[in-house]
């Protein structure tokens, strides 16, 4: 076959190249299906609260600063997008790359 070289098939050489480039991750250790399911449930239960919690904190901070500086409602309006961003940050930290879960 034209793709064969040095007695190695194309598949073997491709696998070798991918492995040396770090493209192929070692297969995950055989976890039982139930463990994967409970992991998914765990993540789903974590995430719903994360966004809301950050938003609540942001609104409370904005409301408090408004009371302090008598600028209602501008600081609260300014803090809501920050809170939404912080909520998404929480979610990314929980499930994004580099997370443990």
């Amino acid at each position: 076959m034209s793709g064969d070289r040095e007695g190695q098939s194309f598949e073997e050489r491709l696998g070798k190249a991918r492995a040396s480039a770090g493209l192929d991750r070692p297969p995950p250790e055989g976890k039982p299906v139930s463990a994967a399911d409970s992991g998914a449930i765990r993540i789903a239960m974590r995430l719903g609260v994360e966004i809301v919690a950050a938003l609540v904190i942001a609104v409370v901070i904005g409301w408090g600063l408004d009371r302090l500086f008598h600028t209602r409602p501008w600081l609260m309006i300014a803090f809501v997008p920050l809170g939404a961003a912080a909520g998404l940050r929480n979610v990314f930290r929980a499930v994004g790359p580099g997370s443990k879960s």
Binding site: S38, R42, M45, V49, E50, I57, I61, L82, A86, G87
Partner: protein, 250 residues
């Protein structure tokens, strides 16, 4: 005929326990359940570890499984320093787990369904982990709020986001446990109420039809068992993750 109504929230009402003495000092049924949970843990561990056999019996292996499970969680998530925090994580895990599980019994009060209790524990974890961060790193711990590799002009926007995200930890930690436990108990009560309503309004047909909510309740109890263990696990593992952030700052 006064139709029975579903009063799903009265189960969370705090009453006083321990008779007149409890009334005098406002000792609630929630406190009562906490004492029972702690007593169960202490007695279980005292009996389980009494023999200290090389080949453990049933009770001893249960206790050792608990210990090793939480120990592994600490070391895996915090690192080698996690051993120092093992007593804290273990206490939190067992306290919440027993609270959740005991709350599933009829007439038992689930103290983890009170946001006062969960918020207290979450605030303690939050303040403790922040204190650990400042204790280990000093003022350099404030760099935790400055993400790595970000151009300087973006920092005025990113630091508040990181700060809000940090402050939201105790909120999400406490609300998650509280909401899961409360929702589960409300669902159980609502379906149990359906059975009474069906029987009261449809007579014998209703009694037969109430097999459906009964079956749902059986399935719900299984789900609640899962949720009880899962939420204790989630609370403990998030405690570990926050301590990891405090110890390693990334």
């Amino acid at each position: 005929m006064a139709a029975p109504t579903i009063d799903a929230l009265s189960q969370f009402r705090l009453t006083t326990g321990l008779g007149p003495i409890g009334r005098a000092v406002n000792f609630t049924n929630s406190n009562e359940m906490m004492l029972i949970a702690v007593a169960i843990v202490v007695v279980l561990f005292a009996i389980g570890l009494r023999t200290r056999a090389l080949v453990p019996g049933r009770l001893q292996s249960l206790v050792e499984a608990f210990y090793e499970f939480v120990y592994g969680m600490c070391v895996d998530n915090i690192g080698e320093e996690g051993r120092k925090f093992f007593p804290l994580v273990f206490t939190i895990f067992v306290f919440i787990l027993l609270g959740n599980l005991l709350g599933l019994f009829p007439y038992f009060f689930a103290y983890t369904s009170g946001i006062v209790v969960t918020a207290t524990m979450a605030l303690f974890v939050f303040i403790f982990s922040t204190g650990v961060g400042f204790y280990i790193h000093g003022w350099r711990f404030l760099k935790f709020f400055v993400p790595d590799g970000v151009p300087g002009w973006m920092l005025p926007m990113l630091v508040p986001i990181e700060f809000i995200s940090y402050l939201s930890r105790p909120v999400s930690l406490s609300v998650r446990l509280f909401a899961n436990m409360t929702a589960g108990h409300v669902m159980l009560e609502v379906f149990a109420g359906f059975m009474i309503m069906l029987t009261a309004t449809l007579g014998i047909f209703g009694a037969v039809a109430s097999i459906i909510p009964l079956g749902l309740n059986v399935a719900l109890i299984a789900l609640e068992l899962l949720v009880a263990c899962l939420q204790a696990y989630v609370f403990a593992i998030l405690t570990c993750l926050y301590l990891h952030d405090a110890v390693h700052m990334h």
